[in-house]
Symmetry: C2
DNA sequence: TAGATTGTTAATCGATTAACAATC
DNA sequence: TAGATTGTTAATCGATTAACAATC
């Protein structure tokens, strides 16, 4: 999937999906590009272009069939394909992600967690066991897992990432703020919440703020 | 701040900041645009353009002064201005964000949490009290808080968001997957982790995946 | 039919990349 | 000086928006 779809388009598809689901739940049969566009405050020809990019045909005068488009998006986005992953780093974020049931609706299945802290090893979080980091390679091979969710402290992020790659991980969902330096064939998706907040707050300059008392 | 900076540039600034901090910690005095660019796998003139967009002057032949650029970025991105916020919805994500100390380094100070569940009300998470939702308006007014972090279940997201706006909130960091329909003057920053994962996993089609057994 | 919508081509816009004079 | 880097202008690229014929 996603052979030659542009990244901006790919990022919009889940937003369309969310609206299509709302219409589905409301029992609507059809949805049009101007309606979707209005909800997302964007251009309607953009919506049509994106939907036609994933080869989904609409109907003149009617718009798009809700149930069918929903299925098409699920298919295209791989929501019905399970991607198994390990959480590496059992801190607040790692635990929260492991407990978040909603991920399974989006094709993400967390199998286990890893940490170096002996107090955390062998505990169970949301039904998933915490293993010592040294077990990682073995479990990657036995379970055929290629995706890791990296939620370790930033001081050790690069080091742990190197170890992940060495153990066979091919894709890293990186929640640290570190720009990981890894081989080209390993895909990294940077999800830095603090950085995202900074961008957000910089974009709302009109809202009063207090000086930080040092 | 951020008067006419483009969004792509604004999103890159925190990444530059992260690298500049590494150089700072390593005791380096200067950093150049080709070095930053190489680390982020991007074009060096992009880096120069972004840095000149925030009016920071480099030095011919030397590059940029690390300590000074660091300070300039902190200033521009408002890392030294405290933005106070409430967390609304005491679930896994709400709790994890409340416990995440690193936010304070990025100018985000979470003051309190809100929830409707009587079992959660009056508990304390990471030193912050959980209040009943009905106390929200009063506390917004008394503490002058304009930013809310929305981490409620998606069924109630729109309803709670309406209530937030009604209570005086002007900016919402939205962790639900719902496209909130709110007045124009309220800024919403959509941070849908499940959607982000979907985009990530769609962009790595080469990695083997298992069929979801239905 | 009349009217609304798709699908797509063409026009516009803006962001990225290349090039290079100015600088130290 | 020679060489490396900035800062910026110009060229390229790609994404968004506008327009409209085709469709039902």
């Amino acid at each position: 999937m996603s052979s030659k779809i542009s990244m901006p388009t790919l990022k919009r598809l889940p937003r369309y999906y969310s609206i299509v689901c709302q219409f589905f739940d409301a029992g609507e049969k059809y949805i049009t590009s101007p309606i979707i566009a209005k909800r997302l405050v964007m251009d309607d020809s953009q919506v049509r272009k994106d939907i036609s990019a994933i080869k989904y045909p609409g109907k003149s005068k009617m718009g798009f069939e809700v149930a069918d488009l929903k299925k098409h998006l699920e298919n295209y986005l791989g929501l019905n394909k399970q991607k198994e992953a390990f959480v590496v780093g059992v801190g607040n974020i790692g635990v929260a992600l492991s407990k978040y049931e909603n991920f399974e609706n989006y094709g993400l299945k967390i199998l286990a967690l890893f940490d170096n802290d002996p107090h955390k090893v062998d505990t169970v979080i949301a039904g998933k066991q915490v293993f010592h980091m040294s077990k990682l390679k073995d479990l990657i091979e036995r379970l055929n897992v290629y995706v890791a969710i990296l939620t370790v402290p930033k001081k050790v992020a690069q080091e742990v990432a190197d170890y992940l790659v060495d153990s066979g991980i091919k894709a890293i969902w990186n929640f640290t703020s570190v720009n990981l330096d890894l081989p080209e064939d390993v895909k990294v998706w940077h999800e830095d919440l603090a950085a995202s907040f900074v961008t957000f707050s910089s974009s709302i300059a009109d809202i009063p703020q207090r000086e930080l008392k040092k």
